[in-house]
Amino acid sequence: MSKKVVTVTILLIAAACVLPFVVSNYRTFQLTLVLVYAIALLGLNILTGYNGQISLGHGAFYAIGAYTAAMLMDQAGMPYWATIPIAGAVCLLAGFLFGLPALRLEGLYLALATFALAVSMPPILKSHLLERWSGGVQGIVIVKPDPPAFLADVGIKLNPDQWLYYFALAIALVLFVIGWNLIYGRIGRALIAIRDHHTAAEAMGINTALYKSLAFGVSAMYTGIAGALGAIAVQFVAPDSFTVFLSITLLVGIVVGGLASLSGAIYGALFIQFVPNIADELSKAAPWAVFGIFLIGFVYLMPTGVAGAMRALLGRLGRGKLSPPKEALP
């Protein structure tokens, strides 16, 4: 990581810390959702972007995470923060187990298998076998967490929305750092090698089966943690919240944000959070048609995602081709 990147990252984190005091509570809530989506997209990107396995079923892992958190809070009376690692662990296991049979499936066939997972999730959540814990169709209403008392003791006054934002921001930062270490280390190189040339990777001694299942597990863990955070932010889970459309939205997010890019998760999250709202404001009659136009526009103008376009732009600026002559500056 160059010094420039470090400075920019620190500045961005500082800006993210100031935001809740500048914008309204409603916007803070929206930004919390952006962070939640960013975590989920990062997870999906590890699998699809870096490892080349297409998943149309990550909404299901998001749902498992959300329900794990909600049920632990509702049934076991667990504090909200304790449910996050458990949701992550449950999804890590679920993803790893799902990844094992999925090993035999390549490309589109894997996409279809994961699609089936996404489609079957709402009926599973509604089924009467789970109803005692899952609340059936009615779902579970969660109490909004208050900022911890020790903050008020040291004189920091936050409302629940702001607190939840910082909570999500902290988790997102931790997960991004872990993701960065994972991707830019041995494991990341192995994942990319498998994506680029499966046979060659195997010939080099990479245990492809293990790495692919692991990628599935870690990816599901990220998405599950996002699901748990999302449930706490929205204060409600119901089967209708996790339809197949959520999975497709996540895939749209990583493609628009930029495949195989860490920062792409943030751009993608901003896109899936705000563009549908803009589309709805532009047209009540056909909001999704407007959304489609946005989508085509993005993909056409930025074929490597927003992250790719930013990289190209910064690269050119760095080389001075696009930067205006110094004397022209005021």
Binding site: S24, N25, Y26, R27, F29, Q30, L33, P123, K126, S127, H128, G136, V137, Q138, G139, V141, G230, V234, Q235, F236, A238, P239, D240, S241, T243, F245, D280, K284, A285, P287, W288
Partner: protein, 402 residues
């Protein structure tokens, strides 16, 4: 001279100004010129057929504004798409309350969506008025004083069928098919309450199904073998069509009661086969726009004119358009009653003091009554029977009003 008059003028001015201040009271979302009303509707997604309701309400308030508004104030109806997804509803409702600062939320649609926002609305003390769902839990004035339903709830409807069975077939042997979720159980509870303590004797068979099941054929066979002569069919449209067809094809000829949720001729009875649906009994509370009896009804004529002028893209055979018109008229009445005291408190107070308010697009004899402890506006329905072409109303309007 001037000096001496000044205090007098001040007193006079205060005297003049004070009653005006006392008369006009506003909460966020209301002013001398405008009343802001928020709404969420599924304009996209799997339940987008319901989006017709939001469009009809929007058209209704455009008509109201053209007439001069409500007590001189224009209605600003802000409606967002939630795609029937509860997290989206939470987000959009927070936008309506915190950013758009609406006076009240009106007709938010869907049981899960409204469940997701109920706590929030009641904590914020913003009316969640006349929600578009039939669950019984929206009539709980004690626990959720800021949430109120509108349409007859599922339990009310089921009690009406129970009452009819007790009157016409006191020795009936009843079989019940229900969808295994809140909605199905809500109906079942109302039905058992309506039958009273003898329900254990009268209901000889119960079968349930999951929404994920492909058919209900085996359930119908099971119910038929119980020897029941009355069948209460608590199913959503797809399964209702299957149940009607299966019951007929197996030669089971019970008196068939079908819940209001699935009483559409076009999307349920036609796919099942019209001849197989003859004799089915269901209930209604709004005038069916396709019913020939209302062809020359002045109220439905006014409604058709409204549709032609303000909602020309709307489907004239879609009952949701009558529904949206009727529920918007109810809100207009509530806001009229509020006068110049447009506070959230007063909105709930007025909504809870409707006294036999009539909307002429509702069936004759059905009126809206509410009270501080009665958060169920419509509690009457009329039974109707299918004659092979259309539903025919029969009997009196049956009310469940306490």
């Amino acid at each position: 001279m001037k000096r001496k008059l000044l205090p007098v003028a001040a007193v006079l001015a205060a005297a003049l100004a004070f009653p005006a201040l006392a008369q006009k009271k506003y909460d966020p979302g209301a002013s001398d010129t405008e009343i802001k009303i928020g709404n969420t509707n599924p304009y996209s997604g799997p339940a987008s057929a319901y989006g017709a309701i939001g469009k009809a309400i929007n058209a209704y308030f455009r008509m109201v504004n053209e007439r001069g508004g409500i007590n001189g104030r224009k209605v600003n109806f802000i409606s967002y798409d939630d795609g029937y997804s509860p997290p989206k509803t939470v987000e959009m409702v927070r936008k309506l309350v915190e950013q758009d600062e609406v006076l009240l939320l009106f007709q938010s649609l869907g049981t899960p969506s409204n469940t997701a926002i109920q706590k929030y609305m009641n904590a914020k003390k913003v009316p969640q008025l006349f929600v578009a769902t039939g669950a019984t839990k929206w009539n709980d004035a004690k626990s959720f004083p800021w949430t109120m339903g509108w349409q007859p709830n599922y339990q009310t409807e089921a009690r009406i069928y129970a009452r009819h069975i007790l009157q016409t077939k006191p020795n009936a042997k009843i079989a019940v098919l229900y969808q295994n979720d809140d909605y199905g159980k809500d109906y079942l509870k109302g039905f058992k309450d309506g039958l009273g303590p003898q329900h254990q004797k009268m209901i000889v068979a119960e079968a349930s199904y999951e929404v994920s099941e492909p058919t209900v054929d085996s359930q119908i066979l099971q119910l038929k073998s119980s020897g029941a002569d009355v069948f209460f069919n608590i199913t959503t449209p797809k399964f209702a069509a299957q149940a009607i067809r299966a019951a007929y094809d197996t030669g089971w000829k019970p008196t068939h009661y079908l819940n209001n949720v699935s009483n559409s001729v076009g999307s349920v009875l036609k796919p099942a086969g019209l001849e197989k649906a003859v004799g089915i009994i269901t209930s209604a509370y709004v005038k069916d726009p396709t019913d020939k009896r209302w062809a020359n009804d002045p109220a439905m004529k006014t409604w058709r004119e409204f549709m032609a002028k303000y909602n020309p893209d709307g489907d004239l055979s879609d009952p949701f358009n009558v529904y949206g018109y009727s529920v918007a008229a109810t809100l207009e009445q509530v806001l009229k009653q509020c006068g110049d005291t447009l506070t959230r408190d007063n909105v709930m107070k007025q909504a809870a003091s409707l006294k036999r308010f009539r909307i002429d697009t509702l069936l004759p004899g059905i009126a809206i009554s509410t009270g501080p402890n009665d958060y169920a506006p419509i509690e009457a329905m009329q039974l109707e029977r299918f004659n092979g072409h259309e539903f025919e109303l029969f009997g009196e309007v049956i009310s469940n009003e306490q």
